[in-house]
C-alpha cells in the first residue's frame, strides 16, 4: 500500500526515519513550514529554513526514493513576533511559486491573538493569489473555540472550504468539521493529540470522507511511523483495505493536488534525482544510492 504522509517535519528527523518510512510504503511526504521549537530573530533564518525544505530536504528524501513536498507559510506562533512577521510575509510570494510547494501552511491560530488572526487572513489571501490549498494549524489549548475561530476566519476569506485542511483534530472537532466541506486532519502522536486506537474509533464512527491522517512528527516526542502504524490498526479493526488506501493516499493527493503541482503518475514511481532516468532506464547514477556513498 502506498502512503502519502501529509504532515511531517523531516527537517528535525534523521535518515533512519526516511529509510523506515520508505520500507513502510511511504512514497511521498509533505513538510509544512513551521516553528522550530524556539523563535527566530530575523527573516534570514526563515529564508534559510524555507530553502532547506526546498533544496537539501528534498535531496535527502530522494535518496530513499521518497518524493518531498512542502507548504510555505508564517506559523501562528511567530506571527506574534514583530521582529519577523511582516518581513516573512514579504518573502512568501516567491516561495509560493516553487514547484514543490503545494500549499500555504501551517498557518492558523495558536494563542488565538489578534495578530495571529491578521496574518492567518493575509495568508489565506496569499493562497488565493497563488491558487494553492491551505493547511491550517489549530490550537492545542482551548481547542474547540480556536477551531471555531479558524473556521470563522476561513469563511471571512471566502476561500472555498474544499481547499482548506483543518489539522490536529480530535473527537470534539470532527463534530464541527464533518459537514463543513473542508478536510479534517488528525495528527497521530505517541501520547498527545490523537493516537491510533482513538483514530480507529473515529473512523468507525464517522467514516473516512474528507479525512486525512498524519504523524506531524517533529523535534519533540513523536513517531514518523504513526501513519503506517495506524494503517495496521485500522486493518485489524476490520476497516476495508480500499478505504484505508483512500485515507492514506487518495485523500492527501486529492487535497494537495488542488495546487496543480502534483504529478500522480510520477508518484507511482520512487523519487529519483537522476536527470536521465526518465529518458533512459539504464542510466541511474551510482552516486545517488546512500548505500554506495
Amino acid at each position: 500500500m502506498l502512503i502519502f504522509e501529509p504532515h511531517i517535519h523531516m527537517f528535525s528527523r534523521i535518515t533512519d526515519d526516511y529509510e523506515q518510512l520508505a520500507l513502510a510504503g511511504v512514497r511521498a511526504v509533505l513538510e509544512p513550514a513551521f516553528w522550530l521549537g524556539q523563535s527566530r530573530t530575523n527573516v534570514g533564518s526563515f529564508v534559510d529554513y524555507f530553502e532547506t525544505l526546498l533544496g537539501w530536504e528534498r535531496h535527502r528524501a530522494q535518496q530513499f526514493g521518497i518524493h518531498h513536498f512542502s507548504t510555505m507559510g508564517l506559523n501562528p506562533r511567530e506571527a506574534n513576533d514583530d521582529r519577523v512577521n511582516d518581513d516573512v510575509m514579504a518573502i512568501l510570494p516567491r516561495y509560493c511559486e516553487k514547484d514543490s510547494v503545494v500549499g500555504v501552511g501551517e498557518i492558523g491560530l495558536d494563542d488565538q491573538t489578534k495578530k495571529e488572526e491578521k496574518y492567518m487572513l493575509a495568508q489565506l489571501e496569499l493562497a488565493k493569489a497563488h491558487d494553492l490549498p491551505v493547511l491550517i494549524h489549530t490550537p492545542h489549548r482551548d481547542k474547540k473555540r480556536g477551531f471555531e475561530r479558524c473556521i470563522d476566519i476561513v469563511r471571512d476569506s471566502n476561500i472555498p472550504m474544499e481547499r482548506v485542511l483543518l489539522d490536529h483534530g480530535n473527537e470534539e472537532t470532527i463534530k464541527i468539521t464533518r459537514d463543513l466541506g473542508c478536510w479534517s486532519g488528525f495528527s497521530i502522536y505517541p501520547n498527545t493529540k490523537m493516537d491510533p486506537h482513538r483514530m480507529v474509533s473515529i473512523v468507525q464512527e464517522y467514516g473516512i470522507e474528507r479525512m486525512i491522517i498524519n504523524s506531524a512528527a517533529d523535534w519533540g516526542v513523536s513517531d514518523p511511523m504513526m501513519v503506517p502504524r495506524t494503517v495496521v490498526k485500522l486493518e485489524q479493526a476490520g476497516v476495508p483495505r480500499a478505504d484505508i488506501e483512500r485515507l492514506v493516499w487518495d485523500h492527501p493527493t486529492s487535497f494537495f493536488g488542488q495546487s496543480g503541482r502534483l504529478d500522480l503518475d510520477a508518484l507511482q514511481q520512487p523519487a529519483s534525482a537522476n536527470l536521465r532516468d526518465t529518458f533512459e532506464g539504464n542510466s541511474v547514477l551510482r552516486g545517488q544510492d546512500p548505500d554506495r556513498m
Binding site: 529564508v47 530553502e51 526546498l54 533544496g55 537539501w56 528534498r58 535531496h59 530522494q62 510570494p93 516567491r94 511559486e97 516553487k98 514547484d99 514543490s100 496543480g260 503541482r261 534525482a273 537522476n274 536527470l275 536521465r276 526518465t278 529518458f279 533512459e280 542510466s283 547514477l285 551510482r286 552516486g287 545517488q288 554506495r292 556513498m293
Partner: protein
Amino acid sequence: MSSPLAHLAELLGSETVATLEKLQAEVAADRSRLAVFFPGLPRRTGRDHVGKGHIELGAGTIELAGFRRCDLAAAWLLLATAATAEELRDLMAHGDLEERAMLLRAAHVLPITEVTIEFLGEAQRTNVVLHVEAAVCDGDLVARAVGRPDFPATDANKLILKYGFLDLPLARAIGLEELANAELTRMLQDLATEREAAGRAVWCDTWRLIGRAPAPGTVARLIGGLEHGDDGVRAAAVDGLLALGRDDLRPFATERLEREPRPEIRELLQRLAGS
C-alpha cells in the same frame, strides 16, 4: 550555424517557445518576475526529454538525453532576457533543488563567465548529487571552462575528484578524460588506496583516467586491475593501459586474455596485446 537561442527554440517547439515568449515579455516589463517564473518552468514547460545524442549548442557540446525540456527552457529564458550576473546569482542562492539543477544545466549553453565558475564551485562543494550531475554530466562545460584564470586545472582536479568520490560515470562527462594530469592521478590513487584500506569500492573510472597521465604507482595499479573481480574495473584497467601505450606491458594482456570471461573485455585485451 544557428544562434543558441534559435537552436533552443527549434528543440523546444513552437508551443513551448510561445509560453516562454510571454514570460520574456513580462520579465522585460518587470525584472523581478524572472525569480517568480523560473521555479515554475518544470510545470509550465515539462520535464520530458526532447531527444538524445550529442549536439553542438552554443559554444559547447551536450548530450541531449541529459537535458529535460525545462532545462532547455531555462537556458532559453536566461538568454532571451539577458539575465545579469546578479540575477543568476540570486536564482542560484534562492533556488530550490530543481531551479539549481536547471541553472547548472543552462550553464552548459550560456557563455562562460565568472558566474559559471562560481556555479562550478557550488557543484564542487555540494553533496546534492543531482547538482554535480547537472554541472558535469552530459556536456563539456568543465572541459571548456578549465584554463580560465579563475578556473585553473588545480580547481578542475578538485571537481573531478568530487565526481569520482560520488562514483559518477566518466562516460557521461564529455571531454573530462582529456583533463587527465599527473596531479589528478595522484589524487585519484590516494583516494583509491584509502578506499581499499577501508575495504570499500573504488571509482572504477580511476583506472581509465590514471592511464592517461601516469604518476608513481600507476603502472602497478593498472596491471593489478587486470585481475580485479569487478568487470567494470577490469574494463577500465585495460582502457587505461591502452591509453598508456607501453609496449613492454603487452605480455600482461596476453597472459590475462586466456582467462578473461567477458567478451567485451577480451576484445579490449586483444587490442592491447596486439598494439
